[in-house]
Symmetry: C2
Subunit: 143 residues, 2 copies
DNA sequence: GTTATTGCAAAGAATTTGCATAATC
DNA sequence: GATTATGCAAATTCTTTGCAATAAC
């Protein structure tokens, strides 16, 4: 479950958080927490996965990175916090950037059922990453 | 991970699958698998959660229901398979219907980075469900 | 020196799976 | 009668948490 953004977050400059941020910013692949863990572990062999999750949370709250939850299972992270659109691979869940396109104009003044109060909206493209596109061609949709 | 839709699904008419479908169609609340389990268990006390997951998968493949994966953690299901838009509560992840609005027009002919191939898009509103709106007002964003 | 942060390991939540039994066609 | 589907329990996957030790300010 998501949480409301908290107000003030005490933040010390730690080597772990710095390396995690650098590694995430060094790639365009929108890695998952465990992928970031593997990346950062090359520089900090004693790093723990719990720390990765905690630091990614904190960097998200601080607005340094983006947390991408539009997938099914795994949360992915984006070192580029500037607004831009994403494609999600419908097969493996990987995320890609779509820099040319802009968020479609949407009227938020619509009526939701069941007493929901609308505040914003989310949009993403769906498609296939290069790897899964290959598999589809080979296997013809089977798996 | 998601899977490509399979081609032919042998399907026998079972009481479990029928009850699950009926219960899901009886509500507008977009319940999770375990919520559906609790609902259906009142009529089928020996029902198991594994069966609920398997039947929900199968009903999804058959196009009888919708699987909603736009949340962070829990998958939710919609007994109304007709195309319509949703609001997701940013606090608790619950889903509501937005029947008036239509999917914003989008140009799918855009260039994705990293070799992704765009096939479609997804859109949903975000906001607060009635319960979480109350909490926000009381606690003023704290939690 | 105080307090945030870490590593570790264990707990949690959501979902999937193996397998013998039961039900459907 | 053959085979799909079920119940049960154990296994997986992803994420969170408690706590003593450590590091930042």
């Amino acid at each position: 479950l998501e949480t409301f953004s908290t107000i003030a977050i005490p933040q010390r400059q730690t080597r772990q958080r710095q390396v995690i941020l650098e590694e995430l910013r060094a790639v365009t692949s929108h890695p998952s927490a465990s992928e970031i863990y593997e990346m950062a572990r090359k520089r900090l062999p004693r790093l723990s996965l719990g720390t990765v999750y905690r630091d990614l949370d904190q960097l998200t709250e601080a607005g340094e990175i983006l947390r991408l939850t539009g997938n099914g299972r795994q949360t992915r992270y984006d070192g580029n916090a500037a607004p831009h659109l994403h494609v999600r691979c419908i097969h493996c869940g990987r995320i890609g950037d779509v820099n040319g396109a802009t968020m479609p104009k949407t009227d938020l003044d619509v009526q939701a059922a069941d007493g929901f109060h609308i505040l914003g909206c989310e949009f993403q493209f769906t498609g296939l990453c290069p790897d899964c596109a290959d598999i589809e061609h080979l296997g013809d949709g089977q798996n």
